[in-house]
Amino acid sequence: MIQPFTTPESGYTLIPKEGAIETQTIEVSMGPHHPSTHGVFRMDVVLDGEEVKRLKPVFGYLHRNHEQLAEKMNWLGSIPFTDRLDYFCSMSNNWAYCHAVEQLAGIKVPERAEYIRVIMAELTRLINHSCLAGFLLSDAGAWGTPLLYAFREREKILDLFESVSGARMMCNYMRFGGVRADVSDDWLACARKVVENYPRFLDELEALITGNEILLARTQQVGILPRELAINASVTGPMLRASGVDYDIRKVDRYGIYDRFDFRVPLGEVGDVYDRYYVRILEMRESVKILQQALRDIPEGPFDAGVKMRNFKVPAGDGYGRIEAPKGELGFYLVSDGGTRPYRYHVRAPSFINLTILEDMCLGHKVADVIVILGSVDIVRGEVDR
């Protein structure tokens, strides 16, 4: 009989099974650079052979003091910093922050601005999900090809962003009560063309990988996240929906003008890595539908509410504004004392909270599966560490 023992560094006590062959567990520090497709991230993994016994994610390598910085800055100054949260989806981050401030200050957003915001947010979702498919496959061993196919399409959307906001990734585009600059008719025509061609790319991506036997073997029945656990861990976004929970803030809150669009919420059944991948592919198809409707219906009118950005003040009070960012529920909790800066500023970052469930998904799997499971969580370190 092998005696229970404690690993020296982490203090975990491991109790071997009855009748097990005497094996030695080792504690491996994976990272901080290994899972580098997702940023600087470290996992303390206790392994028995190749099997994962314990896993502890270690956060904080990219900590930039985002929340405290925002509290020392006026309301407008935080918008460019929200770009840097989840640097793949700067438009969604801008919107979440502006949405929270607008709720607090009671600003009404003009119709055209709402449409522009929906268009930008859904384009961002296309970027995020197609790149995630690429990154996930890079983790699974399909090095490069799917990722570069995704980046090729992303480039077209980034060009759209650049021509309207001035920057490709750090857009800094949304403002309280609207957006910073209007979109031209030419831009809308370009966007329509990109959106029209997007399903063709999705078909190509699916032909490339969805039916691939190696991918199926690597992802099906791997990293299953049960429905109850997903709800209890307050996982949100595509990860929650892959576990079969019908919860999409676009449908629940109907913030902005999402009640006007006809779209469905794809759900998974098993909750494994494959479901998480496929739910995202289906979500992109729904996003294309929303984009087609938004680009068809966008009205003429003012693109901002004429809020003066300098010395912008928010009435005292607190509020929480949330949107369905590509990675999940992105919320900003703001407390105002009536001054020119937030008294308290808190970000509810989806990838941070989704990552807390990593250990439960990885237990009992092989080391190689850990990387795939981490890929399917869809994290961006800028948001996790803030």
């Binding site: 509290e71 020392k72 800055m73 006026n74 407008l76 100054g77 935080s78 918008i79 460019p80 910093f81 090809t145 196919y149 090729r152 480039e155 060009d159 650049e162 021509s163 309207v164 906001s165 001035g166 920057a167 750090m170 800094n172 910073r180 600059a181 190509e204 032909a207 490339l208 990988i209 969805t210 039916g211 691939n212 036997e213 190696i214 991918l215 199926l216 950005m309 300098r310 010395n311 001054g339 020119t340 800066r341 008294y343």
Partner: protein, 192 residues
Amino acid sequence: MLGNGLLQGLVVTARNFIRSYFDPERLTTVQYPEERVTLPENSRSFPFLVYDGTPDNLRCVACKICEQECPPQCIYIEVERDPKTGKPVRRPRVFDIDYSVCMQCQICAEVCPFDAIKMDQVYELAGTDRFGGMLHDKAALLKSNEYYHQIRPTEADEVDARLSQSKKKVSPPIAKPAAVPPAQPVPPKTDV
């Protein structure tokens, strides 16, 4: 059949590979130093100061609004003083922007009431000096209105129209430049 999906994927890559030789749509990259992509007009990199005509005639009145609003605090301004009377003249004596700190957010250009600071489009700024090399002083930041017209024709035309209108309002004596006094920035409230 096992392997069917795999073969299907390989067909996709093969098709892409072959088409990349014939289809201009598939040629998604350019040979950078020789070929360049034309930037869209809105594209932005770092801020610069606009002057009309001669470099002495710069639009900036050293009101310090951009310095106050800049999120990463990369702008430093000192007001020029009249050597005889010691009174402040509406011109910056020192205007530094640390490009290594600047995050290209365009907020300075947005809040400037005098249209004096605008966003440039240069992007080849690599240097060998980490510390002082990226600190651009007033001389380095000054660029003419013609240059501004060159990089952003539509926006510059709008700005010119707006400025000529506001000049008309102020009426002949140009010694009294802007109708709005360059209010001293409100001292930031300190949190407890």
